[in-house]
Symmetry: C2
Subunit: 347 residues, 2 copies
Amino acid sequence: MRTLTWDQEKQELRMIDQRQLPARLEIISCRSYQDVAEAIQNMTIRGAPAIGVAAAFGVVLAACKSKKTNLQDLQEEIQQAATIIISSRPTAVNLSWAVQRIMKIARQPFVMKQDLINSLVTEAQKMANEDIDTNKRIAEHGAGLIQDGDTIIHHCNTGALATVDWGTALGVIRLAHLQGKHLHVLVDETRPRFQGSRLTAWELEQYGISYEIICDNAAGYFLHTRQAQKVFFGADRVAANGDVANKVGSYMLALAAHANNIPVYSVFPTSTVDLNLENGDLIPIEERDSNEVLDIKAHDQPVAPIGAKARNPAFDITPNYLITGLVTEKGLVSPPFQQNLSRVIHE
Amino acid sequence: MRTLTWDQEKQELRMIDQRQLPARLEIISCRSYQDVAEAIQNMTIRGAPAIGVAAAFGVVLAACKSKKTNLQDLQEEIQQAATIIISSRPTAVNLSWAVQRIMKIARQPFVMKQDLINSLVTEAQKMANEDIDTNKRIAEHGAGLIQDGDTIIHHCNTGALATVDWGTALGVIRLAHLQGKHLHVLVDETRPRFQGSRLTAWELEQYGISYEIICDNAAGYFLHTRQAQKVFFGADRVAANGDVANKVGSYMLALAAHANNIPVYSVFPTSTVDLNLENGDLIPIEERDSNEVLDIKAHDQPVAPIGAKARNPAFDITPNYLITGLVTEKGLVSPPFQQNLSRVIHE
């Protein structure tokens, strides 16, 4: 089952409503490019590769549903729709990559409106199929990085749901599992929208891969105590220097892995690379509605599959080299703490 | 209003039920040492200094409610109660510090049972009052670290609710605010129990201090983009070398601050220091029920005060130096990414 499918007869794009998982597997239909832009914006569909292909079908829908008969008018209308679709989310570059790719078709000279539409459908279908092929090639390149017995910390969702099918980082893990390697995944829940505990855990259940859910802030504990050997996540945009924009929290996770000499892999199709941007600080960061953070009641459903397991360390250790000062009732204690703390206590 | 108060007439310990905040300010009564141990275990009361003083009153209750008339039998029963109270939570050393302190009184020779009880009550009350004095001294030592205009990232709750009154790290921030400094606090929500968004935000509302709630995993974004100038948190146990055990997530927060040359302060009374432990890796880390992570429905109330604001960046940037490899459909790209990524893309 694909995350999104095109129904040629009804001229609609069907997609899994990822907001309803893991409670319900519901399919919604987009019948206009506005529907697609809204589904991307409200995260009915998410994941850089998936929203890229969805956006391409959004352009298809703009053409199909247009009342324009004059080819030039139609192409102008498609161009306006493309601009709106691209603006639905700013960070993932796959969105504009996909729209630009299909707009190359849309701008070609056509005689008949139906020819233009047919060409757009063909191109969008090709992009959907290519996405799956690309993901499988990614998995072949990445699976060798995973050793038998590894525990992997994974952030957000990068599985079949984040793509047309198969997945990127989770696709690598999936292939390593199919190769017979014994794996365990510590699934970052991924606040505020719980894509880890809702979507990744749900996928891992389907694949029969062992996992436990952790709060994002607990990854440091598991890395420092050598309970994880690898970190994997996806990417929403990669700058020319290899800086990776990805779901919030990836940076802190990578810092914690790096501090403990644990390898970090970011997994993505090359359509995610933006060679126009020299470094990551130039990548626009979307800031979303604060209610995603504040309104926990909006999650009126379980945030994890039934029967999911979790790890819940209540504390962690901050090594002294990270601390500037210890403030006590006897004064501010500065490094070196080994000497100064004992002196202050015994004063 | 104190987080916990002793009612001498009714011989009960009253405490704010911190599980109900910010929806309801409810007071519960502990009438036995078992009630106190349970309130500590289920986090009706939490915060290292607060659970220390609560534990001392637990010992008081063990004495008050004992049916033993023989002094030696009574003292044995109190000792058993003390052991149970200490075992209610393992990480914060204040708990055993406080119980050991009051047990010094309990073990003294007494003639009358009532004399023993009176001495215990006096000692526990003294500890409660000392906690407030200590916190105010801590604040005086710490407030100078905060500059006018600072934005501070704060983890968990370290305010009046984490102590008998006033608070540790949040007490420092509170005093700096009273000194007229303009501050803003980015409040880590502190998964899984939301002590930041539920308790710290609620306290900041009372004090009139400007704040916004963030997901724990977003702190790195705000530090990297220079939207915060200081990091403050408390401590549950500090080893002799200055390693700090604190609420899970403190480590990743400190890593992110350190990577961006932003100072990190851990604030605590010296009763939190355990000079018997050479370093933090020797500190026992409590692992709590996984339902705290999985069962979001258990939060059948708002996780933030009404009208609370939040920041919600959806992505962050992982700098290339933290990344071991980029996995694409064209192969594994290794550092230096600046050259290798461009080469792979153009192949």
